[in-house]
């Protein structure tokens, strides 16, 4: 709503480019038929190298610069390991070569989208190792999201240790995922508003009933106040400020809850049809659920927040 005021014209322009590309090349129909719609075109924009240093051929931008663009990837429900390739990979690998990356973060059992990866990064016991895709065995595991399949990764080689700051990379992954969740939630809201304006029951559009209006308003409030926590977390991550982990957890937890609430509201307003393959809605519902447990579940981040704020020293003011 007013949140655009938080971003610079350049940041918003990048997002607008991503949005245009995804409208053209990742329409909802593509979610049913393609595994990686729009990726070639995004690569053409330099999107997957956006955080890599300019000397490596990247755009050399900061995380905050891509928050609105990442939101657009959530809004479009873009499949594939976007955050892993454009964000976590850039932190861990430097980004000299454009490779597609899948990540198995600590606390998670499976790597999402590993079927598309050139490199699989496994983080265990605080250390990251990378494995060429050809060297690992992938076994599919059930998950909620048809466009974000999960794989158990079995490694048979020692892999290559990565020297970069693993904590910073995972933190950036959480913040980037939070930005996507905000985009997912915004799409869920707008598509539900459109449906509620068109669908009639009891002789009136269902969007004219107070119960529907008020549910949607509550979801809008949740999204509106999750968004600033996301940009705040991106800023503190970029500056490696004290509190960067805390802010990342605040962003991920709030965005996950906002998206889950938006999903619940969308399904409730749509009724049974929202539950089915007849509509595209299910892709965004699934994304809200699957990203909510990526890079730490909401509960995990709430636990970290409690430790940082109540047991830590939470001074706010500069």
């Amino acid at each position: 709503m007013m949140m655009d005021a938080a971003f610079s014209a350049d940041q918003l322009a990048l997002a607008a480019n991503v949005r245009d590309v995804l409208r053209a090349h990742c329409p909802p129909a593509a979610l049913r038929s393609e595994r990686r719609p729009g990726w070639k075109q995004l690569a053409g924009l330099g999107f997957f190298q956006v955080l890599s240093p300019e000397e490596d051929g990247g755009l050399g931008l900061r995380l905050i610069d891509v928050v609105p663009a990442l939101e657009e990837t959530g809004r479009a429900c873009l499949p594939g390991p976007v955050v892993e390739t454009a964000v976590v990979g850039a932190y861990l690998l430097g980004g000299a070569e454009p490779v597609t990356v899948a990540v198995l973060p600590p606390g998670q059992a499976y790597a999402a989208d590993a079927d598309l990866a050139d490199l699989v990064v496994v983080v265990r016991d605080g250390a990251a190792r990378s494995f060429p895709a050809a060297s690992v065995r992938l076994s599919p595991r059930p998950g909620p999201d048809p466009c974000r399949p999960l794989f158990e990764v079995t490694t048979e080689t020692p892999g290559e240790p990565l020297g970069a700051d693993v904590g910073a990379a995972l933190r950036a992954g959480a913040v980037a995922t939070a930005a996507q969740l905000v985009g997912v939630a915004r799409h869920l809201l707008s598509t539900t508003v459109a449906y509620a304006g068109a669908r009639t029951q009891f002789g009136a559009p269902i969007g004219s009933f107070q119960a529907v209006k008020h549910q949607l308003a509550d979801a809008a409030v949740a999204v509106e106040f999750a968004a600033p926590l996301v940009w705040r977390a991106a800023v503190t991550a970029d500056k490696a400020l004290a509190g960067a982990d805390r802010d990342a957890s605040a962003a991920k937890a709030a965005a996950g809850e906002a998206a889950t609430l938006a999903a619940r509201t969308a399904l409730q307003v749509h009724g049974a049809i929202g539950y089915t393959d007849e509509l595209d809605l299910r892709f965004w519902l699934a994304r809200a659920w699957s990203l909510s447990s990526a890079y730490g579940t909401t509960a995990h981040h709430r636990e970290r927040l409690r430790a940082a704020i109540v047991d830590g020293s939470p001074r706010r003011y500069p």
């Binding site: 009724g271 089915t276 909510s292």
Partner: protein, 366 residues
């Protein structure tokens, strides 16, 4: 009220528990696949052979004439044992009670035994594309012809219809909004069935297209024009006791509590809350059963229960996902999570239930 059970009730519980402990199959494929449907039907036949498929029905229809309390005991044991979901549920929980109450002797004898044994599996056909919550706006119609009726129109969100053998629903026989509806049973063999894929990709629902399907007069339940009244009695039992007995929620809550052992206290707190709420639903249901045994009618009160269990089920499954993260699917919680999402929608949306509670129980103005 005590929760003391009589010796007979204890014996019954022991018998059910013992039987289940040696018969419950390990894991059946989804009932929305052909092989899963067949496996679930075989399980229903096994239950029926032990006369455990519809314990509260009269013996002549395949039951044991068990009391409501015994039925609740059966359900507790059934779900605690991890037994499969009932593929026959729309028949035995929705149509069955209506048949017993509104059907002729011949209709009851003809249909109830096959329903109890799982030989016939019934799909419900309430909704239409333009009439979901607003059932009185139905337009599918039954036209009188000699000896019976011909059905025309289009139903949707018919659960289980992709594989079921029969269906039941409301069809318009006159223009009056509520009093123009008639309750009709029909074999699905003559109906064009188009499966609808759900979130999990499986056809849990179907669309039904009627293009002059003939049904004899003996397939009308009650009198023409009585459909709304009968359906309301049916949906009230759907909202209330029969569709969602506490056993299922108790079993889910117990599994959650086991999952939460050693978890972060904030998560453990939510698990304990779910456990207590499932218990509250159980206690409330026993009190309701006692009220029914004492001759009370369960009417709008059923809406209170529907609101409570559907919201509880959502919270329980959200907690499971928070506890398990990306292992929720492997651990078998994902189907339940998706099914829980439907709880506040089917059998009358929770918005409609809240309005019923407000107007009929609390007395707020329409």
């Amino acid at each position: 009220m005590d929760l003391d059970f009589s010796p007979a009730e204890r014996d019954f519980r022991a018998e059910v528990r013992e039987w289940l402990s040696t018969h419950v199959p390990d894991h059946l494929p989804s009932m929305d696949t052909p092989e899963g449907f067949a496996a679930h039907r075989a399980w229903e036949a096994e239950l029926a052979a032990a006369r455990l498929s519809v314990v509260s029905w009269p013996e002549e229809y395949g039951g044991r004439g068990a009391s409501l309390v015994e039925w609740l005991i059966f359900e507790e044991e059934y779900w605690a044992a991890g037994a499969p979901a009932r593929v026959t549920q729309n028949g035995i929980f929705l149509l069955g009670p209506s048949l017993m109450r509104f059907g002729t002797g011949e209709q009851r004898r003809r249909w109830l035994p096959g329903m109890a044994s799982g030989e016939q599996v019934w799909a419900q056909a309430w909704s239409e594309p333009e009439a979901g919550s607003d059932l009185a706006a139905l337009t599918s119609r039954a036209e009188p012809v000699p000896g019976g009726w011909r059905l025309y129109g289009h139903k949707t969100w018919s659960s289980r219809a992709a594989y079921a053998t029969h269906g039941f629903g409301l069809f318009r026989t006159s223009g009056e909004r509520h009093r123009g509806l008639t309750y009709v049973l029909f074999p699905l063999s003559d109906v064009a069935v188009r499966p609808i894929a759900q979130l999990d990709g499986l056809p849990g629902f179907a669309e039904l297209h009627f293009d002059g399907v003939y049904v004899p007069g003996s397939l009308v339940l009650g009198r023409p024009g009585d459909g709304w009244r009968i359906a309301m009695a049916t949906t009230s039992s759907e909202r209330g006791l029969t569709l969602r007995s506490p056993g299922r929620f108790l079993a889910t809550a117990d599994r959650l509590v086991a999952l939460a052992a050693g978890a972060d206290p904030a998560l453990a707190d939510r698990a304990a809350r779910c456990w207590v709420e499932a218990e509250a639903y159980r206690l409330h249901t026993y009190a309701t059963a006692r009220g029914i045994a004492a001759g009370e009618e369960i009417g709008a009160e059923a809406s209170l229960g529907k609101l409570f269990w559907s919201e509880l089920d959502l919270r329980m499954h959200a907690l499971a996902l928070d506890l398990l993260g990306d292992r929720a699917g492997v651990e078998g919680w994902l189907d339940g999570f998706l099914f829980a999402q439907a709880g506040p929608i089917y059998a009358g949306t929770n918005e409609i239930q809240r309005t019923i509670v407000a107007e009929r129980l609390l007395g707020l103005p329409r």
